[in-house]
Symmetry: C2
Subunit: 200 residues, 2 copies
Amino acid sequence: MKKSNNHYHHGHLAESLLDAVDEIATQFGIEAVTLRGCAKRVGVSPASAFRHYSDKRSLLTVFATRAVNQLADSMETSMLQAQDSGQDALQAVCMAYVQFALSKPAFFRAMWREEMIYTQDPDYLVATQRLASYLQQGFVNTITDEDPCNFSPQEMLAWSSVHGLACLFVDGPVARDKGMEEKLAIAEAVLTQLTPVLTQ
Amino acid sequence: MKKSNNHYHHGHLAESLLDAVDEIATQFGIEAVTLRGCAKRVGVSPASAFRHYSDKRSLLTVFATRAVNQLADSMETSMLQAQDSGQDALQAVCMAYVQFALSKPAFFRAMWREEMIYTQDPDYLVATQRLASYLQQGFVNTITDEDPCNFSPQEMLAWSSVHGLACLFVDGPVARDKGMEEKLAIAEAVLTQLTPVLTQ
DNA sequence: GGTCATATGTTAACACTGTTAACTTACAAT
DNA sequence: ATTGTAAGTTAACAGTGTTAACATATGACC
């Protein structure tokens, strides 16, 4: 947090670049994110980013990891709220998933761009596993509990349908003209259809 | 099909470029597709592509449309086969969806890249509506039949879950180490869970 | 068959991209 | 104070989409 009167050293460049990705992606979409653009926004030379990230892809990987954790945070709070008020926790978690995708589409896209990020990155993997764990809630006593990447058909169904909904809303031809509330209503209707299968 | 001895005019450049996109995307992924790369592969100058496509994005839009129609074709044949052999047609259509995504991941990605294609393109829209119609099969006597973009919760559930499965397999952290047969088995298990809801 | 408009190709340039190498500056430990 | 290192700059590289100016083959019309 030290601030020098001389601005040769930025001090928090790594994080500031992430914020720049955030802003540009939010305004103009993930495809518009450019290393030079981020550097210019931060007020720094184009090459400086490479002191903190070996790659553009590395920067986007960290950004994606951040986004996954934001989504997981949102799911966690929704889950806790539902548990306090005695509502269906799984449904709340699923709705949080869709809501995040709708309100931050660029972030949601960045999370799953296999070709734009290093999907083998340890931090990224940890984040996605954390994400998955919230969708496995309610299925604690399923048979396979050893491998955290192994899902029961029920768990896969939950994740698949909510992920499909989010993707179809964000990148698909579904409900393009409709507003956010309508889309959330559709999601709620779809997930309600699903609850008898998931809570058996 | 006429072939001149002088090669100044290529003759089928528009389609050949699409084939180049196909090959490069299959080999190196959609992100590796480059106008100049396609032109070089076809044996033509970089600027020639602009006589047939106003944009890189236009080229990718036509490619995506082509891919959507290929998927729809595959779903149609699966549906007909299932109807002939008395099997569940919807399940067959869904499995064809997942299978296509797994065997042609670059194509599947290209279909839904909102920021890389013109999603308002008429041909693209027609193709996606055709695709959706196969997933609406079996729900013919639902209430809303006027707007082809309007789906019942059941229809949305079918599309969402199958689309989510495909996306999670292609770009997600699910079953990365597993082979195609195992993934198809997972998909089958998930969809089987779903049939009671869909065939009520 | 010759003329000529047009469709379709080429070339050369533009600004922009990610990335690297060589250099410079500030900080922090001795 | 010296000096090694972390973190910035500058200048260059090849590669990208795109355009304008030019060139050539095709096909329609007389």
